[in-house]
Amino acid sequence: MAVRESDPIRLYLDILPDPSEVGYFPQFPETLLTYTHEENPMGRRQNGHYFPQAFRRREAIALRSWQGIRTK
């Protein structure tokens, strides 16, 4: 889809953790992923796989956002 000059520029504000506390520099927007995980406690299926129990639409979008991210 072509971007018109009149379209607003859309950005996501990523708040980085304090590197001195976490000991690394995150490559991905971790707050978005953390949000997803906090809202979705992992459950275990009969086949032994872990999967989010309450996989609501919003969290699904967050997770898909994460998975599709490209870094430079």
């Binding site: 607003p8 520029i9 859309r10 504000l13 990523d14 708040i15 980085l16 919003r58 991210i69």
Partner: protein, 132 residues
């Protein structure tokens, strides 16, 4: 008396039209000088209940709307980032901005972070040049 009223009325109407034209011209000029930037946050996302990560349509007003910034076209990225950091109450060192992109399936997703080491973000380029 009627003629005076008519003249006054015409004069007022003419002035109103001229004022409206000047305002419209001013808005057009302002739009050419300023860019609209919408910044989605975790907070707006947590309030958002629809499809995609946020609604960027100005016609709908809700607490889930991303805050809007009007940015001078030639403002450099570091100045803009400083302003955004101040607005949200974070130090600049903890803020990283990602561009959102339209995917082929017409969804909008977080795509690529704006690298500050990118030479194209130097002050010789305007903000606009960096994003289009």
């Amino acid at each position: 008396m009627v003629e005076d009223f008519s003249f006054t009325s015409l004069l007022e109407r003419g002035l109103d039209e001229e004022r409206a034209q000047m305002e419209a011209k001013g808005e057009r000029e302002e739009q050419q000088l300023l860019l609209t930037v919408k910044v989605m946050t975790d907070e707006t996302f947590s309030r958002h209940a629809g499809v995609d990560v946020a609604v960027f349509d100005e016609k709908n007003s809700s607490p889930a709307d991303p805050p809007t910034f009007r940015v001078p076209r030639h403002e450099i990225y570091s100045a803009f980032k400083s302003r955004v950091s101040q607005h949200f109450g974070y130090s600049e060192s903890r803020v990283r901005l990602w561009a959102l992109a339209d995917r082929q399936n017409r969804t909008v997703r977080v795509d690529t972070y704006i690298s500050e080491s990118d030479p194209s973000l130097s002050s010789s380029h305007g903000f606009h040049a960096d994003f289009f």
